[in-house]
């Protein structure tokens, strides 16, 4: 089995990014906001929704609400905590990654710090190492929220401990792959934009307007409808209505988008003046 080479520049850069992100004021601020939001979500909406789904008296109201939201398949989930977590995490983690992964390169390029790195490793290692580092940050945060949700499940329905253990890795992998194109989009934007704020703003604009633009263009040339597959998160609604094992089938588009964004960003960064 191949071991991870902990001295490989790619891995060193990823780990350094992890350290630097949590050491920066911005990273700390975003992490604190993340913890606050998830604490509120886990202990109120997720717990109460789960309790409601388990309770026969309030279940009918909860189930009809899910039906209204188009999330009827969630009714079939045995583990109510994870059913609610699944939907919330599918939408919240990608949005969060736009904030935390925005500064993969910008501040350092502006202060000239990249010049210390390029004499010691390749630009590819810097670029992909930063992407890996930010994905690692998201994976850690994702893991923490999943563990807390699992504990909530153990408290309310300990008899499902094994089912919980089985579903945790499935949800983890699904969400991590869902996050990938968003982090890759921020990798690309952090190469082409000159300020962190502008990069985040541009990402929001792209994600908000992309589907309108594609619909408009496809109106003139229906073939262009295929561009929809390049919009990060295009598969989220479909995934939210499925269970994690079925949702795997939708993950080809985020994987394709990730590779596409990373490749374009790398091509630009390879030639960029630093």
């Amino acid at each position: 089995m191949n071991k991870i080479n902990i001295s490989h520049p790619l891995w060193l850069i990823a780990m350094q990014e992890l350290v630097a992100s949590f050491a920066s004021k911005r990273g700390l601020f975003v992490t604190i906001v993340f913890i606050l939001i998830w604490t509120l979500l886990l202990f109120y909406p997720i717990r109460f929704s789960a309790e409601a789904m388990h309770n026969p008296d309030s279940a009918s109201l909860m189930l009809s609400l899910l039906g209204l939201a188009g999330l009827e398949p969630l009714k079939s989930w045995l583990l109510a905590e994870f059913a609610v977590y699944w939907v919330v995490a599918l939408y919240l983690f990608p949005m969060f990654s736009l904030l935390i992964a925005a500064d993969q390169m910008i501040s350092e390029r502006n202060r000239g710090g990249l010049r210390f790195l390029t004499l010691r490793c390749s630009r590819g290692q810097i670029y992909f190492g930063r992407f890996m580092g930010h994905l690692l940050i998201q994976a850690i945060l994702l893991g923490i929220t999943l563990i807390i949700t699992y504990f909530l499940l153990l408290v309310s329905n300990p008899q499902y401990w094994l089912d919980g253990l089985k579903i945790v890795p499935l949800i983890f992998l699904n969400i991590l792959i869902v996050i990938c194109p968003f982090v890759a989009l921020m990798s690309l934007l952090s190469v082409v934009m000159n300020s962190v704020r502008m990069a985040t703003l541009m990402a929001v604009v792209i994600l908000s307007l992309a589907s309108f633009m594609v619909s408009y263009l496809a109106g003139s040339l229906p073939l262009l409808d295929v561009l929809n597959y390049w919009i990060p998160g295009v598969q989220l609604a479909q995934m939210a209505q499925s269970t994690p094992d079925v949702a795997f089938l939708s993950l080809w588009s985020p994987l394709m988008q990730t590779m596409g964004f990373l490749l374009v960003g790398y091509m630009v960064f390879r030639k960029q003046e630093i």
Partner: protein, 310 residues
């Protein structure tokens, strides 16, 4: 012996402005090399191209036999880039150790290496500080420390002593001189007296063009495998114009430039008269003139600018 740096028809343009115009030169490993020129001459652009920070618009630049930016050069070049700053959120030691790890050091030896170079720059006491807590001069010395980490074969220092106090500037000159047995340094600076003390050759850029590549206190490296032309620089205690004619009459002297009324540059043929300095001393004694300094060769400033001003 293959050249340390080879540049052929190297050109760099920023929009309509040409920062480097068709530069051609070769430099071999050895004593430190000075890179001089006025602001905007293209010195930092040349450093940036050699370090792989920017790509040339046209032409070729090779370092240690490889095109700039090649993976073969990773870890073999050290550089002090102009105005580059470290991460304000991490300590100096954390950052230098990380850079050393990228150069292949282990977790432990990377710290030892970072501390070694900080010690060279007399900065051991600030290793646990963040960069924001340091003065401008200290920041620059930390950046020089990173350039010296590992075993680079070529180190490019862009104005290493600008903004430093005299004591630290002197320490940097000493370090460059001591390390120059193992490493070839290219140093850009506006302080010509400093370069004259440290360097053996000078690369002179002006408006993006290469004016000269020559030995300091010597003659053009490429063109004259020495035709015997040497210089003596005479500086008198008092102004005296009449002495020029008498110096001109000395054997082997073929020209005397008056730099100021009390300073003269004597051009002579050393092969014809290897003891001109002794004859000059006799002449001064005969004329009753007191001298302040007689120097073999001419200053770097005179070398670069006297010829142009004529």
């Amino acid at each position: 012996m293959s050249a340390l740096i080879e540049c052929h028809a190297l050109t760099k343009a920023y929009g309509n402005k040409q920062a480097l115009k068709n530069i051609d030169f070769e430099i071999h490993a050895g004593k430190p090399i000075a890179l001089v020129g006025p602001n905007g001459a293209g010195k930092s652009t040349l450093f940036s191209i050699l370090s792989g920070y920017v790509a040339a618009t046209s032409g070729q630049a090779r370092v240690l036999g490889y095109p700039v930016g090649s993976k073969e050069l990773i870890g073999r070049i050290g550089a002090l880039p102009q105005d580059a700053l470290f991460d304000p959120n991490l300590t100096i030691l954390q950052q230098l150790s990380f850079l050393a790890r990228l150069q292949g050091y282990s977790r432990y030896t990377s710290q030892v290496e970072a501390e070694r170079t900080l010690d060279l720059m007399q900065l051991s006491n600030i290793k646990n500080e963040k960069i924001t807590a340091l003065s401008h001069g200290m920041k620059k010395r930390v950046a020089i420390a990173q350039a010296l980490m590992g075993k680079p074969e070529l180190v490019l220092l862009d104005e290493p002593t600008a903004g430093l106090d005299p004591e630290n500037a002197r320490n940097i000159r000493q370090q460059v001189t001591e390390l120059s047995e193992e490493v070839t340094f290219i140093v850009s600076s506006h302080n010509l007296a400093e370069l004259e003390r440290m360097c053996a050759q000078v690369l002179h850029l002006e408006q993006g063009e290469l004016k000269t590549l020559q030995a300091i206190s010597g003659v053009d490296i490429d063109s004259t495998a020495s035709k015997g032309v040497e210089f003596l620089t005479l500086r008198l205690q008092q102004k005296n114009k009449t002495i020029v004619n008498k110096i001109n009459d000395l054997s082997s002297v073929f020209k005397v430039d008056t730099k100021q009324e009390d300073e003269f540059i004597i051009h002579y043929d050393r092969r014809k008269n290897p003891v001109l300095d002794q004859e000059l001393l006799k002449l001064l004694a005969l004329e009753g003139l007191v001298y302040r300094q007689i120097t073999q060769g001419q200053s770097l400033e005179d070398q670069l600018f006297m010829a142009q001003s004529k």
